[in-house]
């Protein structure tokens, strides 16, 4: 069984209130080393057998069509594990 990881991040210019809230909570606990925190998403897609080039192409398409919304997000990684 093969597995492909897709990672999606909010576009840099989009305000990320969740990341900001996490950053504030870290600072509250005394972890003030971080300039900022941004929160993204990681998807793991499993296929039967080895991951083929065709699978990766399909997953790129699925990532663009469904997993990410290009108005607000970027696909930053598509990688077979």
């Amino acid at each position: 069984m093969g597995r492909v990881v897709v990672e999606v991040m909010p576009k840099p210019e989009i305000l990320d209130p969740q990341g900001k809230a996490i950053d504030a909570a870290l600072a509250e606990k005394g972890y003030d080393r971080f300039r900022s925190v941004r929160q993204g998403k990681r998807f793991e897609l499993e296929v039967d057998g080895e991951v083929t080039e065709g699978d990766l192409e399909l997953i790129h398409r699925v990532a663009e069509e469904v997993l990410a919304n290009f108005v607000i997000e970027d696909v930053v990684k598509v990688e077979a594990l």
């Binding site: 305000l15 209130p17 607000i72």
Partner: protein, 230 residues
């Protein structure tokens, strides 16, 4: 007149929306997300709620429901389509409206009565209003902040596609945008709940005076009825 009200798994405001349709004098037609046709409706409303639990992104999974293929082709031929809150998110995800809706700047679910000012009223759902007119509607959303790239915002401004803005934006929307239409004007999305202000005695409170506001939400539904009759 038959106005379709689409229910997705997780839609919560479909009954109030159907009641608003009835109050306006039209016939609400219940439509289920996996239906393959629109049952000859004259307009369609996507109500608020949390379709598919808002998994992935608000509206993202609902945008791929079978009925949305029909909504898209009917919208292309001019069918009036109104998306309220989650319905607005679904229309953006489906590409029927520009931009996207993201988490409020406060990162909180906001539940407030807010004042909206109309900019352009040339849609089937807002013809009973005047540009510059202010109305009060309840705003209840976690992801109501409208975003789009600068080029798109400029185009929306110049093409008169910004239908209404918040007077005091409670959610941190780009340019305080509260309602947007598509280019032809038949598809409208709004981050506020017209269906929650249809009857005197049960309206939101004016944020300034604290007095009950007028039931102006009803006019969204009577507008589309008047368009049809004319």
């Amino acid at each position: 007149m038959r106005i379709g009200v689409i229910t997705f798994p997780g839609t919560s405001d479909d009954r109030e929306t159907a009641a608003a349709v009835t109050a306006a004098g039209a016939e609400p037609i219940e439509l289920w997300h996996n239906e393959a046709n629109l049952a000859r409706v004259d307009a369609v409303v996507l109500p608020g709620g949390a379709a598919h639990g808002n998994y992935l992104r608000p509206g993202a999974l609902a945008a791929h429901a079978p009925i949305m293929t029909r909504v898209a082709s009917a919208a292309e031929s001019g069918l009036p389509v109104l998306g309220i809150n989650n319905g607005f998110q679904i229309l953006c995800e489906a590409g029927l409206l520009p931009g996207a809706l993201v988490t409020n700047a406060s990162a909180r679910f906001e539940c407030v009565d807010a004042c909206l000012r109309f900019e352009n009223t040339a849609t089937p759902f807002t013809s009973a209003f005047q540009a510059g007119e202010e109305i009060v509607l309840p705003v209840r959303t976690k992801a109501g902040a409208f975003v789009a790239d600068a080029q798109t915002i400029t185009r929306l401004e110049s093409e008169n596609q910004i239908v209404a803005r918040f007077v005091n934006d409670p959610i941190g929307s780009t340019s305080a945008i509260a309602a947007v239409r598509n280019e032809p004007g038949n598809v409208l999305g709004i981050i506020a709940s017209p269906e929650q202000s249809i009857e005197a005695g049960f309206t939101p409170a004016d944020p300034d005076t604290k007095l009950p506001a007028k039931p102006d939400g009803l006019k969204f539904f009577t507008s589309v009825l008047a368009e049809r009759v004319n």
